[in-house]
Subunit: 127 residues, 2 copies
C-alpha cells in the first residue's frame, strides 16, 4: 500500500509517517516511480508508535518497541530495551504524579485562603 492508505489505516497523516521514517522508525521500499510502498507489518509498527505516543511517550522512547516488533516478536514490549523504557516511564509517571499532587495541595490551600480573604473583604464592605 502507499503512504496515503497507510496513514488512513493508522489514523494519522502522511506527514507523520515521513517524519517517523526520517527518524529511522519506519523503512519503506520504493516503487519504480519513487513512491513509498508499505505492507501489513508496517501498519503494525505505526500502530505501535501511535499508541505509545498517545499515552505520552516521545518518539525516541518508541524505538525499542519498534525494533522489538521488527525482530519478529509478537508484541513490541517484550524485549529488554522496551522493558527498560517501561520501567523508566513508570518511575517518571510516579514522580510526575507526586509533583502534581504536591502542586494540587498548594493550589487548593491557596484557593481556600484566597476565598476566605475575599469573603472577609466582602463582609467588611457590607457591614
Amino acid at each position: 500500500m502507499r503512504i496515503g492508505e497507510l496513514a488512513e489505516l493508522a489514523g494519522t497523516s502522511t506527514r507523520a509517517l515521513r517524519y517517523y521514517e526520517q527518524h529511522g522508525l519506519l523503512a519503506a521500499r520504493r516503487t519504480s516511480n519513487g513512491y513509498r510502498e508499505y505492507d501489513e507489518s508496517d501498519l503494525r509498527l505505526v500502530r505501535e508508535i501511535r499508541s505509545l505516543l498517545e499515552i505520552g511517550f516521545n518518539l525516541e522512547d518508541t524505538r525499542p518497541f519498534v525494533e522489538c516488533l521488527r525482530s519478529g516478536r509478537a508484541t513490541g514490549a517484550e524485549c529488554p530495551g522496551s522493558i527498560e523504557v517501561l520501567g523508566r516511564k513508570l518511575a517518571d509517571l510516579d514522580g510526575c504524579i507526586a509533583r502534581l499532587q504536591a502542586v494540587r495541595r498548594v493550589v487548593e490551600r491557596e484557593l481556600a485562603h484566597a476565598v476566605e480573604e475575599a469573603a472577609e473583604l466582602e463582609s467588611r464592605i457590607v457591614s
Copy 2:
C-alpha cells in the same frame, strides 16, 4: 534599583524581566539615561510571577495575580480573577493527575505482561 539587582533579588534573569515587561506584567520607570528603575513593589510582583511559574502556571495565568497586587491588595490571590484562575488550575490538575494515573495503570500492566513474556521466552531457551 536597576534591572540586574532586581533580577538577582528575585532569583531570575534580566532577560526574563524584560520579557515580563514586554507582556505587560511589569512596568518600569526609566531614568534619564534610559535605564529601567524598579522598587520594592516590583520585587513583590516578580516574586509572585516566579512562584506561580514554578508550580506550572503560564505567564498569562499570572496576570490576574499581578494586577491584584498592583491594586494594593496584600496578596495576589484574593481578587476574583485570581480565584477563578486558581479554580481552573485545580480542575486542570485533577484532570491531569487522573490521566497520568490512567496511563500509569496501562504502563504497569504492559510492563508486568512484558516481563512475563520475556521470562517465558527465557525459560524456553534454558530448557
